[in-house]
Symmetry: C2
Subunit: 277 residues, 2 copies
C-alpha cells in the first residue's frame, strides 16, 4: 500500500515536521520505498517535488524537509507499488487542470475491474489504478459541471458519491485539493488532527523529533494534518470511518458525513478543549 | 522578457552545466529575477522544479544545479515579468495532459489582442499571455486531433502553423515537449547547438566554468541544447530565424523549416565536422 499526508491551514504553514515523520516510513520505519511526492499550493499555483527513489534517502526529500515552503494546502504521498512499475510517471501526487484550477490527487489502496470506466478527455499517462481513478473522477466532474461551478461544497459532495463508487472496486483512501479545499475520503486507514491555540508540544513516532507549536505559531493559526497513520504519539488523532469524507478549508473542517461531525464544533472552547485531551 | 533553455538527448543526460549558466542570468548576470522553473522528463513522467524567487539565489536552483537529474528532454525558463504578477502560478514552464502525454511549454516574448481566442477545455490558471497561448495551442491540437495522433511530425507541423498565428500577435519564442520530442519556435532570439563526438571543451559565458564533454560523455551521445542566448563562448551556436521551427528527437534535429536544414545532414561526417568549426 502507500501512505498519505495532507495539510490545510488558514495561514501559509510549512509541513517540515510532519513530512520529517512521513519520509522515514519511505524505506526506514516503513516499507513505502517506491517513490514519494509532495505538492505545495501557493495561491492558485503549485509546485510538486517527486522522486521515484525512497524518501528516506532522497536528496530532494532532504531539501523539502529542511527548506520551509509555506503553504495553505499540501498533498503528499509515499508509495509502495502494487499496480504500475516504480517510475516517475507512476509517482503520486497527480495534478490536472479543471475549471481554471489545478487539482491534485493522491491515493492509497488498490482497485479492481475499473479499466473500462470512461475518463472523458482526461487520460492517464502512467499505469496506476490511482491515476486512472483520478482521471475518471475529473471526467465525472466535468460531465456534471461542464462550466466552472460556484458551489464548491456541492462539488465535493458529488466527489464523495464518485468515491463511494470507487470504494466498491477496492480500497480507496484519497486526498484531493484544488489549493483552497483539501478533501479526504476513507476506506480503512485515514486520520486527521486540527491544531489550534492553545498549542502544545508534539513528538514524532518515526523520528526523534519534538516540536513546541507554541513557539512556531501565532494564536490565530489553525492547521489540520491528515495522515494514513498518526504521525505523533502524544496527540489525539481523529480516525475516519469507512465511507467517511472530510472537507477542510483554511484549516477548518467545513463539511463531512461523519456522525462525529456534529460534535466537532470548533467554535465552542469546551469542546475545543475536549478535542485536545 | 525571459530566457529559455531546452535540451534533447539520445541518452539520459544532466543539464547541470547549461543550467549553471542560465540561473546566473536570473538576477545576477541577467535581469530575469521574477522566477524560474525547469521540467525534466523521465520516460513519460516528468518533474518540475519551480520558484518565484530569483534563480541566482534559490536554494532549489542550487539543488537542481548540484544534483544531476538525467533526462532526455528538458525545458527550463527564467522569468522577467511583463504580463501577470510575480507568483508561482505565473512561473514557467506550464504542463498539461493531452492524448495521454504530458506536454510542457515555456514562452519568451509578449503577445497582444489574444484574450478572445478560444482555448477549448484547457483553461489558464494564472494571468500570463504565455499560459493562455499554451492553452489555446492545446485546444487547437485537440480540435485538429480529437483522438491521439500517430504521425507526430505532422502534429508538430500543425503546431508550427499555430505558432505562426501567435507570432502575428507579438513576440513568440517557444519551447514545447511531450517528453520524446522537443520543439523550438523562434520570433527573434533562439539558438541551438548539437554536441556529439568528437566532443570538446566548452566554457560558460555567465559563470567561471569549463567542462570537457569528452570526460562527461560516451562516443555515441548526442545532445542538443536550445537557448535564448548562447550559453558558451567557445562553441558555434546555430541562430534561428524569425518564423523558424526546429524539431528535435533524442538529440537529433529531425524536422524544421530552416533553409539551413538541408545542410544539417548529421549522417555525413564531413558536414558534421564542418558544424563543429
Amino acid at each position: 500500500m502507500c501512505e498519505l499526508l495532507g495539510m490545510s491551514a488558514n495561514v501559509p504553514t510549512d509541513i517540515c515536521f510532519s513530512f520529517a515523520g512521513l519520509i522515514q516510513r519511505g524505506g526506514n520505519t516503513g516499507p513505502h520505498s517506491d517513490g514519494w511526492g509532495i505538492a505545495f499550493y501557493e495561491g492558485k499555483g503549485f509546485r510538486t517535488f517527486k522522486d521515484p527513489n525512497p524518501s528516506c534517502d532522497s536528496k530532494i526529500a532532504d531539501l523539502v524537509q529542511s527548506y520551509p515552503i509555506k503553504s495553505r494546502a499540501v498533498i503528499s504521498h509515499i508509495r509502495q507499488a502494487n499496480r504500475g512499475e516504480v517510475s516517475l510517471v507512476n509517482t503520486h501526487p497527480f495534478t490536472r487542470e479543471l475549471w481554471g484550477r489545478y487539482w491534485t490527487f493522491a491515493h492509497n489502496g488498490q482497485l479492481a475491474d475499473y479499466e473500462d470506466w470512461p475518463t472523458g478527455r482526461h487520460r492517464a499517462v502512467g499505469e496506476t489504478d490511482s491515476e486512472f481513478s483520478f482521471c475518471w473522477l475529473m471526467g465525472e466532474l466535468e460531465k456534471e459541471y461542464p462550466q466552472p461551478p460556484t458551489d464548491m461544497l456541492e462539488v465535493f459532495r458529488f466527489v464523495t458519491k464518485c468515491c463511494d463508487k470507487l470504494r466498491e472496486r477496492g480500497v480507496f483512501n484519497m486526498l484531493l485539493s484544488d489549493g483552497e479545499y483539501v478533501m479526504s475520503y476513507c476506506t480503512n486507514h485515514l486520520y486527521w488532527i486540527t491544531r489550534r491555540a492553545p498549542f502544545g508540544k508534539a513528538s514524532l513516532i518515526d523520528e526523534e523529533m519534538t516540536v513546541n507549536f507554541q513557539e512556531e505559531t501565532t494564536p490565530n493559526d489553525i492547521v489540520t494534518v491528515i495522515a494514513t497513520q498518526p504521525l505523533t504519539n502524544d496527540e489525539t488523532w481523529h480516525r475516519m470511518k469507512p465511507g467517511e469524507f472530510s472537507l477542510f478549508q483554511f484549516g477548518e473542517l467545513i463539511d463531512g458525513n461523519a456522525e462525529q461531525l456534529k460534535d466537532v464544533a470548533y467554535a465552542k472552547p469546551k469542546e475545543k478543549k475536549k478535542r485536545r485531551l
